[in-house]
């Protein structure tokens, strides 16, 4: 397989012929010639505040009866200026901003930022921290998919799904609270490892969760997998071929649901992913149902990864030893003058990251989450940019929306799993 494009195997059926990317503007579906002056076309504003709980996305939709004939997405209703705010803060404080960008898989944002800083610093992270980060990242993936599934079910009418999914989500948040003290936005990852030692009792609770979770996923599948309403509403809807998906920069479940076998955990492994055994689900239908199946199976695989991480968690320090970057242990502060000075310098001014730029990507539940950092050698970032997969996923709405009805619009936007905090940063 080396050297050849893994994108499309020629013997698989193509999802549709050619490319459906709108010709003029790739992200806007424009009215066709014959409808441009028609009086039947109704322009509707799916405003920033609407019950589809994806946050503040605004869609300007042209409808010809029930058919969607024009679509433009307007974003920016949550643009909080993360990148400029992070430039004002020291490297440590900037980590606090990161989880709020993609607020469903918060620790993955922290992870990508911390990985990028560590890459520029050239620090080696101890194995215990790496495995713990892997475990928490997978718990985050399950969390994000649970919220997605709950809200997607809610939008399509499978309202009980919401309660089922959030029941397990509460268990995951209990685990996060146990390990880091706070349910969401834990800020548990630190440059060099973890912020603190893993508290006792976490592994037992996590093991209990791992036992319960596969049964819960069976519950979710039992609710909708064979329901004719769910199948009608998701099969054949929102088609996106592999070529179009790659051209539009899609990644994650959207790409894997279109038949492209690409997962950063497998292709460019980071953390401990090259040492755990997991499958990468790929479906070839390219519709909403395929993306749903990809995410369900990813949840199962994530539970397996968590299980393996629990069994193989190594002992050792939880943070690197480099005193120029990492706080010295508190016991030393009483006796060692150098430790005191290091502590003082790190806390007040912050450590310095050498000059350079780096772009690190990880596989977040939405796709390829990237962090581009430019440092000028000082205690603050010069430029931080997060490459948000949801930003790119929204560019694909116009392409997926060919031959869609209004009801399908909701299903398609839901299946792209966008988080507006990430889109707008």
């Amino acid at each position: 397989m080396s050297g050849s494009l893994v994108a499309i195997a020629p013997e698989r059926p193509r999802i549709y012929e050619g490319s459906r990317i709108p010709a003029r503007i790739p992200s806007v579906l424009e009215l066709g010639e014959e409808l441009r002056d028609s009086e039947d076309v109704l322009r509707i504003n799916f405003g920033p505040n609407h019950p589809s709980t994806h946050g503040v996305l605004r869609l300007i939709v042209d409808l010809n009866g029930e058919e969607v004939v024009g679509l433009a997405a307007v974003v920016g209703y949550l643009h909080t200026g993360f990148e400029k705010s992070m430039e004002q803060k020291s490297w440590w404080k900037a980590i606090t901003y990161a989880p709020r960008i993609d607020y469903l898989s918060f620790q993955q944002n922290e992870l990508v930022f911390v990985l990028a800083v560590e890459k520029m610093l050239g620090i080696e992270v101890p194995r215990r921290a790496t495995w713990m980060r892997t475990l928490l990242a997978e718990l985050n993936r399950i969390h994000s998919h649970l919220v997605w599934l709950g809200t997607a079910g809610l939008e399509l009418g499978a309202i009980s799904m919401f309660w089922y999914c959030f029941r397990e989500r509460e268990r995951i948040l209990d685990l996060f609270e146990l390990v880091a003290g706070f349910r969401m936005h834990t800020r548990y990852f630190q440059v060099g490892g973890l912020a603190e030692e893993i508290p006792p009792g976490f592994f037992e609770e996590c093991a209990k969760f791992v036992e319960v979770m596969p049964g819960a996923i069976d519950d979710y599948e039992a609710l909708v997998d064979r329901s004719p309403i769910w199948l009608e509403r998701t099969k054949g809807i929102g088609l996106l071929s592999a070529d179009d998906a790659i051209a539009l920069g899609q990644s994650g479940p959207v790409l894997r649901g279109s038949g492209v076998d690409w997962d950063l955990r497998r292709a460019q492994p980071y953390l401990a992913y090259d040492q755990v055994d997991f499958r990468v689900p790929v479906y070839h239908e390219g519709d909403v149902w395929a993306r749903y199946r990809v995410r369900m199976e990813e949840m199962r695989e994530s539970v397996r990864i968590v299980d393996q991480a629990l069994r193989r968690m190594p002992d050792g320090p939880w943070i690197a030893d480099d005193r120029k970057v990492v706080l010295p242990p508190r016991e030393e502060l009483h006796t060692s003058m150098e430790s005191l000075i290091h502590h003082f310098k790190i806390v007040t001014e912050g450590f310095r990251v050498p000059e350079g730029e780096v772009y690190v990507t990880i596989e977040s539940p939405r796709g390829e989450l990237g962090c581009y950092i430019v440092s000028d050698g000082g205690p603050r970032p010069w430029r931080v940019k997060f490459r948000a997969p949801s930003f790119v996923a929204l560019e694909a709405t116009a392409t997926c929306m060919s031959d869609a009805l209004v009801a399908d619009l909701i299903a398609i936007v839901g299946s792209l799993d966008t988080v507006m905090g990430e889109v707008d940063r």
Binding site: G47, T53, G55, R100
Partner: protein, 194 residues
């Protein structure tokens, strides 16, 4: 109860007073409420109306960012706000009583927020959930509104980033008590902050 001692909330039968510490003096909140009550003076009919309003206050789906996820989790079975009669999140502001602004409000979103608030029928209450809605949170920059009380009149601010579901429910319970005690909604007492 002496004649000059101001009535406490628990004298109305409300349970959220800190029963573990019965001798605790009235909190600032209560003193304000008590002062306002002496000014307002509730009749029985008004008490009945207030009871009805607080027992079925329907929120509007105004989830913006991370706090929205915690707001969604109060509907779920562990933190169940259906026991307060509030599980019916109305999407249309015309049918909602309570606007829980959950998440950071940016200048681009301020206009839709104000529009939604204006479309709500009176009486209406606003809870500013989280640090970002209360005061801009950690985002003191060119694009974030430093507190949603700059554009709407807020009844209750709930701190946290994001607040735990229990914290939000505490805020909701206090709002109910305010309503029961006869405190008018915020737009009658104060305007927007400066």
């Amino acid at each position: 109860m002496a004649i000059d001692e101001p009535p406490r909330l628990r004298d109305y039968g409300l349970q959220s007073e800190r029963l573990l510490w019965p001798t605790k003096g009235p909190s600032v909140f209560e003193q304000e409420v008590a002062a306002m009550e002496r000014a307002v003076g509730l009749t029985t009919l008004e008490k009945a109306v207030a009871w009805a309003q607080s027992r079925s206050m329907w929120p509007d789906t105004f989830g913006l960012a991370c706090c929205a996820i915690e707001m969604m989790s109060i509907v779920t079975s562990r933190y169940d706000i259906a026991r307060f009669g509030m599980e019916a999140f109305r999407s249309s502001p015309r049918q909602a009583d309570l606007l829980i602004v959950s998440g950071r409000v940016v200048h681009k979103m301020a206009a839709p927020l104000r529009q939604v608030y204006d479309q709500m029928l009176e009486p209406k209450w606003v809870i500013a959930m989280g640090a970002c809605a209360s005061s801009g949170g950690m985002f003191n920059n060119y694009t974030t509104l430093q507190g949603v009380d700059k554009i709407v009149a807020v009844d209750i601010h709930v701190p946290g980033c994001p607040p735990r579901p229990e914290a939000l429910i505490e805020g909701i319970v206090r709002l109910h008590e305010k309503v029961m005690a006869g405190v008018p909604p915020a737009y009658e007492i104060r305007g927007v902050a400066s």
